[in-house]
């Protein structure tokens, strides 16, 4: 008997899916295009050639050389030379340059006479990624120039090269950045934003499909076809979605890891398996939202809200430990957080599956949880009320 009801409900779900071209658009075209857009925009990987300016009041051969080397650096590109500070400031204001390097008057003379002149670099931190690149470039050039002077002095007193190096930089740091030694921005940002975008689409489509049943008043029929079994009705209706979304999700993963070369340092199966879990967990989350508010508008509002805010709550760009604790806690209420954590463990760091066990379990939990509360939706289905 259960088999018969399941077959009928499944058939009904399939027919609904096929009859509306919007589903195809929102489940296949938009997720793929959106994920592609995010990755393709950042495919250059690192910000290079940030447009900057130079204010050179010294105009000596030393300052000219400094500017030439600065321009040759990959981080920045000198767009303009300014006569004075004010002009540079105006250029920053109209967005022509994002920062500038300021060389004071008589710099060379001061150095040669043993004084300590100060060069300054003005970096516009309203543009975050370019700002850190500028900082890196400006800082390096300043230290290089300083080192050049020291080297000349030490060589004249006859110190060997090794000792000169050790004097100029007594402590050296070796940076080890496992998984992303190139500091590739795309690898870092797309690893979290692309799945989160996909999760948003799942949430919204699921909310929409459940909501339309309630709105059109066809929910009674939906329930009747499944033999008044709410769990069966939801499952059978959503299974076609699950299959389609999982296929799209695998395609997105293929784009991520093979086309755009995001780090995948684990057995690919670990991530492939996580995809259907992510799909079902998000569907489960959407159903859960309807259990709380069985109303089309509130249900979709909640799902959209949580989907959009998870980009911030889940600490993809601002690290978790520096958020307010309650904000970080909300992050743990959405499934994408667990997918993110497990992808960090598996795809990026490639550590043992053992450390990610909790995250996989949490995703499974999101699938089971709404089934317990499904009586709330059932109640609403029996007495559908549409409030616009």
């Amino acid at each position: 008997m259960l088999k018969f009801y399941f077959k009928e409900s499944f058939k009904r779900g399939m027919v609904q899916l096929v009859r509306r071209p919007m589903y195809f658009l929102m489940m296949v075209i938009v997720p793929i295009l959106g994920c592609w857009a995010i990755m393709d925009m950042m495919k250059a990987g690192a910000v290079r050639d940030v447009p900057v300016g130079v204010v050179d009041l010294d105009d000596s051969d030393m300052s000219r050389k400094l500017v030439r080397v600065l321009d040759a650096m990959e981080q920045v590109s000198v767009k303009r030379h300014f006569k004075d500070f004010k002009q540079a400031k105006l250029a920053v204001q109209n967005g022509e340059i994002l920062g500038f390097y300021f060389i004071p008057e008589d710099m060379q003379q001061s150095i040669l006479s043993g004084k300590e002149p100060t060069v300054s670099y003005y970096v516009n931190y309203s543009y975050f990624a370019p700002a850190s690149m500028q900082y890196k470039g400006f800082k390096t050039i300043s230290l290089l120039t300083k080192a050049g002077v020291v080297q000349t002095v030490l060589r004249t007193v006859g110190l060997p090269n090794q000792a000169i190096m050790a004097t100029m930089q007594p402590y050296a740091t070796h940076e080890h950045m496992p998984a992303n030694p190139w500091l590739n921005y795309n690898y870092y940002l797309s690893s979290s934003f692309v799945p989160c975008f996909f999760a948003l689409m799942i949430l919204m489509v699921t909310a929409f499909t459940l909501g339309s049943e309630l709105k059109s008043g066809l929910c009674r029929q939906w329930l009747a076809v499944a033999g008044d079994n709410m769990v069966l009705a939801i499952t059978a209706k959503l299974i076609p979605h699950t299959v389609l979304f999982t296929a799209v999700g695998w395609f997105v993963q293929w784009m991520m890891y093979r086309v755009y070369g995001l780090p995948l340092n684990c057995n690919p199966w670990h991530m492939l398996l996580a995809m259907p879990l992510l799909v079902m967990a998000n569907q489960g989350f959407a159903v859960l939202m309807y259990c709380f508010t069985p109303n089309f508008r509130f249900g979709s509002t909640l799902c959209t809200l949580m989907g959009m805010l998870s980009f911030s709550f889940c600490a993809f760009s601002m690290p978790e430990e520096s958020l307010y604790p309650w904000v970080a806690a909300i992050g743990y209420m959405v499934p994408i957080k667990y997918y993110f954590l497990l992808s960090v463990d598996q795809a990026i760091n490639g550590i043992d599956l053992y450390y990610s066990r909790v995250y996989y379990a949490a995703l499974v939990g999101f699938i089971i949880l709404p089934l317990i509360f499904s009586w709330r939706i059932k109640h609403q289905c029996m007495n559908p009320i549409y409030v616009p």
Binding site: R12, Q16, M22, G34, I38, D40, M41, M42, A44, V47, V92, Q93, I111, G114, E116, P117, V119, S120, Y121, Y122, V123, N124, Y125, S126, Y127, F128, A129, A131, L143, V153, M165, A166, P170, Y171, A172, T173, P178, N180, L183, Y188, L189, F193, F197, M204, F208, S216, S300, C303, T304, L309, S312, A315, S317, M318, E321, S322, V344, I348, I351, P388
Partner: protein, 409 residues
């Protein structure tokens, strides 16, 4: 002409009443604008990373290595939570997410320094969030340079008789002087919130109208009969009036409440917002053609925010995008508005200095008006006529169509 103005006025008045009557639209137009900026600001209000947990593996165990660790711990960026016996133990802590970075000081660290060679320190960093790497690097660079500088002075003293021309350097952050995350990101997001709330609201109004048409044989009883231009312009003027309060609140008071950079003149930012609102209104009236019922706005329009955020150039700068994405970004009003607004607010530019953005927004007004006109003339209105014809033949045709679409029958 007088007739036409009267038509515009009537459309304006009707749209105004529709907006205020519809709870969903009020939520989009007002509540969203009030809550979202505040919510985002609160999330990012901590601005920077403070005291990221790290672990030190000190094989050297000398005064120099302890001094290094002590100074690291004293930086605002990081905090040492533990000293691990070996790398194995430290790595275990990192895998369990107790710490996000490991500093490894090798056995010969202080020996090398004392011998007049370079002392080497290794740092391993979790790369899942770039911010962590940045804080760790910042702390490490500052500490090693500080200690190095002290040593350098001592070593150079005999050669230089007190004075050697060493260039000092300093960074002066401008625009966002706090160098905080919220101050950088939120200023970009604020205009986008206005745009998205408007698109959603306009879409929902249109969805409501379509639903009324389906129930009423293709006619919308709430619609004011008017020419296409009068309809578009009347609605646009209504949106302009409705958005006076949200624009001032979002663009002026939100930065004030959360202490973001506020160097813009209120008049100038409002002046920039005028063409922005017009452009977005026409954009909404173009996109509304895709909306067939009230609730599908969530599905059809909400996700665009994510794409638009990227197009703004907030996480990845616009000059580094490929030509293709750059041009796509040019087509969205929020790109011009946000970038212009950020220049005004953080760098203190006047409207005159960013006139390019202002003119581009006016250009967009024109383009989106033509698009909206085309959609209304060649898509929407023929469709309504088609429906009316269909309903005249069979009064239940439209509603039946609705049911069939939901997969039943």
């Amino acid at each position: 002409m007088k007739q036409w103005l009267l038509e515009v006025y009537r459309v304006w008045w009707r749209e105004f009443r529709l907006v205020l009557r519809d709870e969903g639209v009020v939520i989009f137009f007002f509540v969203l604008c009030a809550v979202y900026p505040a919510l985002y600001s609160i999330i990012y209000n901590t601005e920077t990373e403070r005291n990221m947990p790290i672990v030190v593996v000190d094989y050297c165990r000398t005064q120099a290595s302890r001094e290094l660790a002590r100074r690291l711990d004293a930086t605002p960026e990081v905090r040492i939570i533990s000293y691990a016996a070996n790398m194995q133990e430290a790595r275990e802590l990192m895998y369990r997410k107790k710490c996000y970075s490991i500093v490894y000081i090798p056995r010969d660290f202080s020996q090398c320094v004392a011998r007049g060679q370079q002392g080497h320190v290794s740092m391993y960093c979790d790369m899942s969030v770039m911010f962590r790497y940045k804080s760790m690097l910042m702390a490490m660079t500052n500490v090693t340079q500080e200690m190095g500088g002290e040593l350098q002075k001592k070593r150079l003293a005999p050669f230089t008789y007190g004075g050697i021309g060493l260039i000092q350097n300093r960074q002066i952050p401008i625009g966002n002087t706090a160098m905080g995350m919220a101050s950088a990101v939120l200023l970009f997001i604020l205009p986008l919130v206005i745009q998205q709330s408007m698109l959603l609201g306009i879409g929902m109004l249109h969805g409501g109208s379509i639903e009324r048409r389906r129930r009423n044989r293709g006619y919308d009883p709430m619609e004011e009969p008017a020419g296409i231009c009068a309809t578009l312009i009347g609605k646009m003027m209504c949106h302009q009036v409705v958005y006076v309060v949200p624009v001032v609140y979002v663009l002026h008071f939100t930065p004030m409440i959360f202490d973001f950079p506020q160097n813009a003149n209120l008049l100038h930012s409002v002046a920039l917002a005028v063409p922005f609102i017009i452009a977005v209104s026409f954009m909404g009236q173009t996109l509304q053609a895709f909306i067939n019922e009230r609730e599908s706005v969530f599905l059809m329009l909400a996700y665009t925010s994510v794409i638009f955020v990227f197009l703004l150039g907030v996480s990845w700068p616009r000059f580094a995008m490929s030509r293709f994405w750059y041009v796509i970004g040019d087509c969205v009003p929020s790109t011009w508005m946000s970038n212009g607004y950020v220049l005004m607010q953080s760098s203190g530019a006047t409207l005159n200095q960013i006139s390019h953005y202002f003119y581009m927004l006016w250009l967009q007004c024109g383009v989106f008006f033509l698009l909206a006109y085309g959609v209304e003339r060649f898509v929407s209105r023929p469709r309504y006529r088609h429906w009316q014809k269909k309903a005249a033949a069979d009064p239940n045709a439209l509603q039946r169509y609705d049911i069939i679409k939901n997969g039943v029958g």
